[in-house]
């Protein structure tokens, strides 16, 4: 094993053909925000220490895109994002463009949202896509 490099991980979106995924063009950083609420399990009898457990895992993905058209994956993602409450399957795969389904380190049905679009002066058109879980992920294993 070696130190993992973020450039090797790309977001893939399921196409109109179920089970077939395509990588979005122009991908920048992909960030995951995870949270778990803390559940206080202590009582007066726990002798001065607060004990706790963690609750359900909250997840939000955020992808920076430098839009590069034509891109069937982006067109599909944008169409779906424009209809709130419509889920799409995504995979975060290792091995860059050579990644296959077996290389997915995260796979889930998500609700996408185009959370920002920047038409930069002297620059590119940059989009930020946010992803919220529609169902528990089917793959969530980095190691």
């Amino acid at each position: 094993m070696a130190v993992l490099l973020g450039n090797n991980y790309l977001l893939w979106v399921e196409s109109a053909v179920a089970g077939t995924f395509a990588a979005l063009k122009g991908q920048g950083s992909y960030s995951e925000s995870r949270s778990q609420p803390k559940i206080d399990t202590s009582g007066k009898e726990t002798t001065g220490y607060t004990t706790g457990a963690y609750g359900n895992i909250g997840y939000e993905g955020s992808l920076d895109l430098r839009v590069n058209l034509p891109d069937a994956a982006y067109t599909r993602l944008e169409t779906i994002a424009n209809v709130p409450g419509t889920p799409v399957n995504i995979q975060l795969r290792a091995k860059g463009m050579a990644g296959v389904s077996a290389d997915a380190i995260f796979a889930a049905s998500v609700y996408p949202s185009i959370s920002s679009r920047n038409f930069n002066k002297d620059g590119t058109v940059d989009v930020k896509v946010s992803l919220s879980l529609a169902a528990a992920p089917t793959v969530d294993t980095l190691a």
Partner: protein, 95 residues
């Protein structure tokens, strides 16, 4: 040949056999997916994107004009007509 009525205009339309392919090129989604995504709250633009590849007339309006027509007409009624077209059997005649 079916027609879609938007306000005063009657536009010839059909469900082409290759509708899925046309919609995937323009929107990334199939006819069945659009049928599920066309909701009472859909915008005229969303309805127009699905309807546009099913219009056959030589003077069929382009997508933007079509969206404006739908907005000025009755979007819910046009949505219902589009859903009927999506549910119709494919028309294999050249048009």
């Amino acid at each position: 040949m079916a027609t879609v009525t938007i306000g005063e205009r009657k536009l010839p339309a059909r469900r082409p056999a290759d509708l899925d392919a046309r919609l995937v090129v323009s929107t990334g989604c199939t006819a069945a997916e659009h049928a599920a995504m066309l909701r009472p709250t859909s915008t005229p633009g969303q309805i127009a994107r699905v309807l546009a590849p099913m219009l056959t007339g030589k003077d069929a309006p382009a997508a933007l004009e079509l969206a404006e027509l739908i907005e000025a007409g009755d979007p819910l009624d046009v949505r219902a007509q589009v859903l009927d077209l999506l549910a119709a059997p494919a028309d294999t005649e050249e048009g």
